[in-house]
């Protein structure tokens, strides 16, 4: 599986919904275009400094056209660095990406919506 090609960091944005430590609060991460190795640092930055303040992370994949194994690795890194009671939802993936997530059995570690 190859690492992705070099992309632009403009393809990832994130926002915090609600106040810290509230049950409804969440982190929303939007990714556009190619979800690949070029987003390695930006993706990590979106969740790494939040401590235990948020319990729900939604990753919006609606505008993602391609996702490679490096991206799967980045998701695994995220899963392992967040507390076990944090939920990570992968939302709106197209059929191609849904299939990659299926054959990788990522449904065992993430909520796929």
């Amino acid at each position: 599986m190859p690492w992705g090609r070099i992309g632009t960091s403009l393809s990832l944005t994130y926002e915090y919904i609600g106040e810290k430590n509230e049950s409804e609060s969440s982190v929303l991460i939007h990714i556009q275009g190619s979800f690949d190795f070029s987003l390695f640092n930006d993706f990590r930055e979106s969740y790494i400094n939040l401590g235990n303040d948020y319990k729900l992370y939604k990753i919006n994949l609606e505008s993602v056209e391609y996702l490679d194994s490096a991206a799967l690795g980045m998701l695994l890194s995220m899963r392992s660095s967040l507390a076990d009671d944090c939920q990570i939802e992968l939302c709106g993936a197209n059929d191609f990406i849904r299939n990659i997530l299926r054959i990788s059995r990522f449904d065992k570690l993430f909520e796929i919506r």
């Binding site: 194994s69 054959i103 059995r105």
Partner: protein
């Protein structure tokens, strides 16, 4: 940054020098052709300002020489001239001049132009530096890929070769990515096959391949159950690889009677066909190296390969192969290629040839981004 002014008129030498110095440039003055050429070679200035008429030779000729001597190095030349006719201006630019300022000139105008050229020089220098760094890292990556490939080839040196029942092919991508195939016949006649696809740049593959190979060939010798082999490979990879790296894989034990026991994690579906009907088998687990030993599931599935059947496993490089339109092959397409190949061919090696021909035709000279490993088996 150095600026060289070549002008036979002292007043302009002074104005240009003064403007340059106020911008923080170090200026050097030459009054004629010979001194100008000499100074350029010795000083390697970043910017040259030159009058179109100088003592001791042709300024156009000198600029041509300067541009040749500068070669790859970016060195803007600003012509000054009292002759404002098109012919002179054209001559200046044709000789290699980058700018033209008529004499007499206002120092504000000269300063503005000089600022622009200084900016250009800085941008180009930055570009050269980055390009140089990039070349360096590119070269380094290439060398590391070669190394990783060598490690991986070394790891696979104990493989059984292809025979009439089993054929493994790798179509290597332009850059090395990290597929691994291990094949060994056990003393009871069963074949043990490991088809793996590591994430990331071949580095993970070269780190992971050695322990995987070790465990694999030890297990063949000791006739270990495949559940144990899997747990052991997973344990080793979980320990040695960083969290974001893993190995998608199939591990199969095929008995001489066509009974297949297998485990699959993170791999595309495999196919079994007699040329008419097709059955798929899926990998039901997370890839190797993702889950800790306590969470890892090593349960095995079983199916049979009939006498007329051929089995195919392909790594995801096949599904994701793009044609000229940028459309990926996809597993439905690959399945169809495979069924067609089996129905058209009488022997496995012919199936193999036909399948590869179809894949290569689909690819149509496009760059292959990922390694493709194909494994075919018949009883």
């Amino acid at each position: 940054m150095k600026l060289l002014i070549i002008d036979s008129q002292p007043v302009y030498q002074e104005i240009v020098s003064w403007c340059a110095e106020t911008k923080g440039l170090t200026s050097y003055v030459a009054s004629n052709f010979a001194a100008g050429w000499d100074a350029f070679q010795k000083l390697e200035p970043s910017i040259v300002v030159i009058d179109s008429i100088i003592n001791g030779g042709s300024a156009f000729k000198l600029v041509e020489m300067i541009k040749v001597a500068a070669g790859e190095r970016f060195c803007p030349v600003i012509f000054l001239s009292s002759n404002l006719d098109d012919f002179t201006m054209n001559h200046c630019f044709r000789a290699g001049g980058d700018d033209f300022i008529p004499k007499p000139f206002n120092e504000v105008l000269f300063n503005t132009r000089l600022s622009t050229h200084v900016k250009h020089v800085l941008v180009v220098e930055e570009l050269y530096k980055k390009n140089h760094d990039l070349m360096f890292y590119h070269k380094k990556t290439e060398i590391e890929h070669k190394m990783a490939k060598q490690v991986l080839n070394h790891a696979q040196r104990h493989n059984d070769g292809d025979d009439g029942n089993l054929q493994v092919t790798r179509l290597s991508a332009t850059s090395f990515n990290g597929d691994i195939a291990l094949v060994k016949k056990r003393s009871d006649g069963a074949k043990l096959i490991f088809i793996g696809d590591f994430t990331g740049h071949g580095l993970a593959a070269s780190i992971g391949a050695l322990p995987v190979t070790q465990v694999f060939f030890d297990a063949v010798e000791k006739m270990l159950p495949i559940e144990n082999i899997l747990s052991e490979i997973n344990r080793v990879l979980y320990g040695v690889l960083p969290v974001h790296m893993f190995c998608a894989a199939y591990l199969l034990v095929i008995s001489p009677n066509g009974e297949v026991h297998y485990w699959g994690g993170g791999m595309p579906d495999g196919f079994v066909t007699n040329g008419k009907n097709v059955r798929r088998f899926s990998s039901n687990h997370l890839p190797l190296g993702v889950l800790s030993a306590t969470k890892f599931e090593n349960d095995i599935s079983t199916f049979n390969v009939g006498e007329k059947d051929i089995l195919l496993i392909a790594t995801d490089g096949a599904n994701e192969l793009k044609n000229k339109e940028g459309v990926m092959l996809g597993d439905a397409h690959l399945e169809r290629f495979f069924i067609e190949s089996v129905s058209e061919s009488e022997s496995m090696s012919k199936v193999h040839e036909s399948l590869i021909r179809k894949i290569v035709t689909y690819q149509d000279d496009q760059v292959q981004q990922d390694d493709i490993t194909l494994m075919l088996y018949q009883r």
